[in-house]
Amino acid sequence: MTDTLLFRGIDEPGLNTIDVYERRGGYKQLKQAFATPRDKLIAQLTESGLRGRGGAGFLMGTKASFIPHGNMQKYVVCNADESEPGTFKDRELIQKNPHQLIEGVIIAAYAIDASISYIYIRGEYDQQADILDAAIEEARQRGLLGENILGSGFNLQLELFRGAGAYICGEETGMLDSLEGKRGNPRLKPPFPANLGLFQGPTLINNVETLSTLPHIVELGAASYAAIGVKDSAGTKLVSVSGNVERPGNYEVELGTSSREIIYTMAGGPIDGRAIKCWFPGGSSVPVLTADDLDVSYDYDSIEAAGSMLASGAIIVVDETQSVVELAYKLAKFYAHESCGKCTPCREGTTWTLNMIERIKAGTATPMDLEIMASVQEQIIGNCLCPLGDAMAEPIGSLIAKFRPEFEAEIEANRAAREQQLVSEFASAEVAIEGVSG
């Protein structure tokens, strides 16, 4: 295992201040980046093999190379709307090492020649936003933001924008609409943000972790960075491990580490030696894997080959004591609540699914409802405007596929319980009536 990169010295007191960050060598990479021609810098990013850490896993350098040249106003937007359930790695980066992110933003903006940048942070991260705001102000004071940064002739404004509580604003175009002061509805693609993004200008959008990696790529060089990890999954990845484990938290791992090592060795595995029923390898929006998949290498392609996605890099562990119906209920409730309502399959499909699971819980569902629920998931997948509909349908579909007997058993048990309750209510009502008449 290589040394940590993003988490290097993360708990050093005062790392969030510019003095400590600079003492540790911060903002040096920025000078180096400014000394590199833009196209070379982008080529370096591409060669590093860095894939976007927000979820889609698109090659960061390639994305940057899509930004058109020309005099139009270009933008960099950092997606700090970390709202994928189970994911909390960006929070730790922002809170403890904000200048690493700011340096990354400046490098990215320089690479694509953007003079305006925003960090869109979720509104709930109030404390982190305050820390980041202070850091931005420090950077401004030191001339690292504003006009003619470090004498490079490059200008950049950076503003922190606080969201107001909507999961969908983590979707890049929903975030753009929100940043433009609208309801955070995702946009139709194409046009892609690289061409027509924020305020219809070319826009590079990257996640906090991705941008925080840039100073390290500049420092190490593309080849050295690419050497970390495995083929097509270069570098280290911050993994948020949560759920039924002994030591939940963020771990920086080299891509290609075994999933079992992350879950058991690092995070301690389930308490009391319980078995794992299933686990989400990349936040709640991906198909679940089971205990049989624990030896899968934790990298983009291997997880995909196993039938799921690495996505935001959040592992949620569910132990054997948990109910899959309850799990599906939490999922459906979340996605129905967070659906923006713009497109039909997601808006109606998530709510419909929630209604059906509520009926399973209430004991009024039949095995046929399970069939309907499975078919509704199929009706959603691939038909929506943005990934949110699929984000519910994929995990719920996988739960039904992998745990059908448990669903059926719970439907039957709840139905029987309800019948029993009705009978006893009826009986006590009869007693009461008898009592009256007698």
Partner: protein, 210 residues
């Protein structure tokens, strides 16, 4: 509608949103862009909104900062406050209310100024969030100045089950500390200082050592 509203006496299933049953009040004037010459607002609210406009000059980017300013001023996004913001921004109040109602953190009715959001999403619920919320509801449910609600993933699954108390992340919260936390919330004290997220080291042992 004056000409015969049919009272539907069937289900009100899914009727979680009061607005669905709301007709327009035909005695009201249409809600056009408020006239800046005749719309008065507190100076501090105007300053806060104008600061948002200064920081986010393009498009309607200043909407969300303006709504935060209104909520800060009135405790909620009151119609009066939205109209005042609309006058400063030169937009219709509807353009603002459409945005405000989209986001979970804007409230469209008066609520307690002390907020307690309890995460009830997957990771937290796997660790007992539902029980935590229930316990807090028993203690804080009737407190007029406290706004307690279950919330979707707050991005702190490492301290599950957790809550955000006036923006301060606290967790894991054992059920036997709910009494103490509730008392602190009502008294306006720092919530469970030892359990605040900001004091928590990174889980990754490699990162800590250097």
């Amino acid at each position: 509608m004056s000409d015969g509203v049919a009272k539907v006496l069937r289900f009100t299933h899914n009727s979680r949103i009061p607005g669905w049953d709301r007709a327009a009040d035909l005695d009201k004037a249409p809600a056009v862009v408020p006239e800046p010459a005749t719309t008065e607002l507190p100076a501090e609210l105007r300053a806060a909104i104008e600061d948002g406009v200064r920081r986010f000059p393009e498009g309607d980017s200043a909407f969300i900062p303006a709504l935060y300013a209104v909520q800060q001023q009135y405790g909620w996004c009151s119609p009066e406050g939205i109209e005042q913001a609309a006058a400063v921004l030169g937009r219709t109040p509807a353009a603002l209310s459409a945005v405000a109602t989209f986001y979970d953190m804007f409230r469209m009715e008066p609520f307690g100024r002390k907020t307690v959001y309890v995460c009830t999403n997957i990771s937290c619920s796997l660790c007992g969030a539902d029980e935590l919320l229930e316990a807090l509801e028993q203690r804080l449910g009737d407190e007029p100045d406290v706004h307690l609600r279950g919330f979707e993933c707050l991005g702190a699954c490492d301290i599950a089950p957790m809550a955000s108390v006036n923006g301060v992340y606290v967790g894991p919260i054992p059920l036997d500390e709910v009494d103490e936390l509730s008392r602190q919330v009502v008294a306006g004290e720092d919530p469970l200082p030892a359990r605040q997220l900001l004091r928590r080291p990174c889980a990754d042992s490699k990162a800590a050592g250097e």
